[in-house]
C-alpha cells in the first residue's frame, strides 16, 4: 500500500443545510467530505457549485451506493461516474463501505452487513479489483454499523476486514463510532477489535454520534460525539497513520459553534496523539 497520502487534518461532512456556516468558518475546517452519490447524477450546476467550494477546501468523495459486497460486478456506469467525480474533485482518496446495499431486483439503499465467509472475501476482492481497474486513486473501505450479524460466519468481522484489506491492498476508513455502536449492540470489546485489524492501513477516521432506541444504539449521525468515541479516537490516532478525521452530522443539527467545538476536540487529539 502507498502511504504517501497527505495529512488533510480535521474535516466536516458537507451537507447542504451547513453550506453557509461552512463558508463562514473556512479557517476552522481543514477539508470537506462529500457524498459521491449526491453528485454523480446531479445537474452540472450543482457540481460546479461544489467545485467552487472546493477552491477553499480539499474535497474527499465518499460513496454510499457502490455495494462492493454484492455478488455481481459493480455497476459500470456508477463506477465510471464515481471515478469521473473523484477526478473532478481531485480527492487524495475516495471511499465506500464494506457492505452491500442492493441485489439484482431490490435496492435496500442502506448499508447492510455481509456474511463473514471465505466466499464473501473473494466477492469483495473481485469487486475492489474492478474498482482499481478504473482509477489509480487510493480507494478506502469503511466498516459499517450493523444491528444483526449474519449467523454461521466462518470468521470474525476483524478477520474479515483484515483479509480483504490485505488481499486488495486497500486503505481503511475506520468509523470509530461504528466500532463503538457495534461493540455495545453486539457485545464485544472495541479495543480487542481494533487490535485485530491492520491499523497501519487506516488512512481516514469518521466520528459521529448515535441515538439510543429500543435497546440498541442507532447510527443516526444525529447527536454529539460520545466520550467512548473520543476515547477510541485517541487510541486510533495513537496507533494508526491517520491522515484525516471527519465529523459526520446528518440531522438534528446543533448550533454550528457546537460542531466547531467538536472539530476542535478532534484537532487537539490529532495534534496530541498522532
Amino acid at each position: 500500500m502507498n502511504y504517501s497520502q497527505p495529512k488533510v487534518g480535521v474535516g466536516l461532512g458537507f451537507r447542504t443545510p451547513l453550506y453557509q456556516e461552512i463558508m463562514n468558518n473556512k479557517e476552522s475546517i481543514d477539508f470537506l467530505e462529500v457524498i459521491t452519490d449526491q453528485y454523480i447524477y446531479a445537474i452540472p450546476e450543482k457540481v460546479e457549485l461544489l467545485l467552487e467550494t472546493g477552491k477553499h477546501f480539499p474535497l474527499i468523495p465518499h460513496g454510499v451506493g457502490m455495494s462492493i459486497g454484492t455478488d455481481m460486478p459493480v455497476d459500470a456506469d456508477y463506477l465510471q461516474r464515481t471515478v469521473d467525480f473523484v477526478e473532478k474533485t481531485d480527492g487524495p482518496w475516495f471511499s465506500d463501505h464494506l457492505c452491500f446495499t442492493k441485489a439484482p431486483d431490490v435496492d435496500i439503499a442502506q448499508l447492510t452487513p455481509l456474511w463473514f465467509t471465505e466466499e464473501m472475501v473473494e466477492v469483495v476482492c473481485r469487486n475492489v479489483k474492478q474498482v482499481k481497474e478504473y482509477t489509480d486513486r487510493p480507494f478506502l473501505l469503511e466498516n459499517i454499523t450493523y444491528y444483526f450479524p449474519i449467523p454461521l460466519s466462518e470468521m470474525t468481522e476483524a478477520e474479515f476486514v483484515t483479509r480483504i484489506l490485505e488481499k486488495t491492498d486497500c486503505g481503511m476508513l475506520l468509523d470509530v463510532n461504528n466500532v463503538h455502536i457495534n461493540s455495545v449492540n453486539l457485545g464485544f470489546d472495541p479495543y480487542e477489535f481494533l487490535n485485530s485489524i491492520p491499523l497501519e492501513r487506516v488512512t481516514q477516521v469518521h466520528i459521529a454520534g448515535g441515538t439510543r432506541m429500543q435497546g440498541v444504539i442507532l447510527d443516526t449521525h444525529g447527536s454529539a460525539v460520545s466520550k467512548e468515541v473520543w476515547d477510541i479516537l485517541k487510541f486510533v490516532v495513537r496507533n494508526a497513520p491517520v491522515k484525516g478525521i471527519l465529523l459526520e452530522r446528518d440531522q438534528n443539527y446543533p448550533t454550528f459553534q457546537d460542531l466547531l467545538d467538536e472539530l476542535n476536540i478532534a484537532r487537539n487529539i490529532f495534534n496530541q496523539y498522532s
Binding site: D37, Q38, I40, Y41, A42, I43, P44, E45, K46, L49, G65, T70, D71, M72, D75, D77, Y78, F100, K102, A103, P104, D105, V106, D107, I108, A109, Q110, T112, W115, T117, E119, M120, V123, Y146, Y147, F148, I150, P151, L152, N185, M213, Q214, V216, L218
Partner: protein, 288 residues
C-alpha cells in the same frame, strides 16, 4: 454457492413487510423459494428476529426521510395527518434499483404516491395539494438533468435571437415553453402559505386562486418563481411550439368572444411585451 441469491432474499425480506412477517414466522418455507445451500438456509433461519425488525423499520423510515428532504413543508403538513403512511408507502412502492440520484428518485416516487392520495381524497389537510405541488416543482425543476439542459439550451438560443426579436418577428414565429418552466394553479396563496409554514406556523387561510410560473435559472443552481395572473398562465400554456404568436392572439380573442381588430390589437400590445420578457428570462424561445 449462491451468495447472490441469499442477498436477494435478504433484500426482499428487509424491504417487503408481508414477506418479512412470513420469513420471521417460518424462515425455512420462505427460503425454499430461493436457490440456497443448506448452510445458507440455516444461517438465514438463525438471524436475530428482533434486530432484523429494528433494521427493517429503520429502512422504511429512512426511505421516507430521504424523500421528505425534498418536501420540508409538506412534511409539516403531513404531521397533522397521522396514519400508517410510511408502511403503506413502502408496501406500494418496492425499492427498485435505479440509475439515478437515490434522493431524486425516492422524492419523485413519494410525490406520485402522495399525489394519488390527494387526488382520491384520502388526505385531510386542505393545504396538502398546494404545498406538495409547490415543493415538487421547486425540487424537480431545480434538480432534473433534462430541465437543466433545457434551460441552458434556451438561454443560448435566446442570446442569438433576442437582438432581432421585433414585434413582427415574434408574431410570425412559434413561441415554445421549455421543459424547465412550469405554470401551476393553486387554491391558496401558496407563497404566503409557504412563508408561514417555514416559520412552523399552521396558518388559517381563505381560498385565493394563485398562479405561479416556476423556471430554472440557466446555468445556476436555482429556481425563479413568479406570481402571474390567469391570462398570463393561459398565454404561457399556449406557447407549445405548434402555432405562431399571431394564431395564439386570435385564439385568445376568440376566447373573449370576438375576433375584432380592436380586441386583437389590444391583446397584441398586452401580450408581446410579456412574451419578450419571457424570452429574455429564457422561459420560452421562438421557432420558425
Amino acid at each position: 454457492m449462491s451468495v447472490l441469491e441469499m442477498q436477494r432474499l435478504l433484500g426482499k425480506v428487509l424491504t417487503n413487510e408481508d414477506l418479512r412477517n412470513a420469513f420471521l414466522r417460518d424462515p425455512h418455507s420462505v427460503c425454499q423459494t430461493y436457490e440456497l445451500t443448506p448452510r445458507e438456509r440455516e444461517s438465514l433461519s438463525l438471524i436475530d428476529a428482533n434486530r432484523f425488525k429494528i433494521y427493517a423499520a429503520s429502512l422504511q423510515e429512512g426511505r421516507v426521510s430521504l424523500a421528505l428532504v425534498a418536501f420540508p413543508l409538506t412534511k409539516l403538513v403531513l404531521s397533522e395527518e397521522g396514519g400508517p403512511l410510511v408502511a403503506r408507502y413502502c408496501k406500494e412502492n418496492p425499492p427498485l434499483p435505479v440509475s439515478s440520484s437515490p434522493m431524486f428518485n425516492e422524492a419523485m416516487v413519494f410525490y406520485s404516491f402522495l399525489n394519488k392520495l390527494v387526488a382520491t381524497g384520502e388526505m385531510k389537510s386542505k393545504y396538502l395539494r398546494d404545498v406538495l405541488e409547490y415543493e415538487k416543482n421547486l425540487f424537480f425543476i431545480g434538480n432534473d438533468v433534462e430541465t437543466s439542459r433545457s434551460s441552458s439550451d434556451f438561454a443560448r438560443l435566446n442570446r442569438e435571437i433576442i437582438d432581432n426579436l421585433t414585434d413582427e418577428v415574434m408574431l410570425d414565429s412559434k413561441p415554445i415553453k421549455g421543459a424547465h418552466a412550469e405554470v401551476v394553479s393553486f387554491d391558496y396563496d401558496v407563497i404566503e402559505l409557504a412563508a408561514l409554514l417555514a416559520k412552523q406556523e399552521m396558518p388559517d387561510l381563505e381560498t385565493k386562486h394563485t398562479y405561479l410560473l416556476f423556471s430554472k435559472v440557466p446555468n445556476e443552481v436555482g429556481i425563479k418563481t413568479s406570481k402571474i395572473n390567469k391570462s398570463t398562465m393561459r398565454l404561457i400554456l399556449m406557447c407549445d411550439g405548434t402555432r405562431k404568436t399571431e394564431a395564439i392572439l386570435s385564439e385568445l380573442a376568440r376566447d373573449n368572444g370576438t375576433e375584432s381588430k380592436d380586441v386583437v390589437a389590444r391583446l397584441t400590445s398586452a401580450c408581446l411585451p410579456i412574451l419578450r420578457q419571457l424570452c429574455k428570462s429564457s422561459v420560452i424561445t421562438f421557432r420558425n
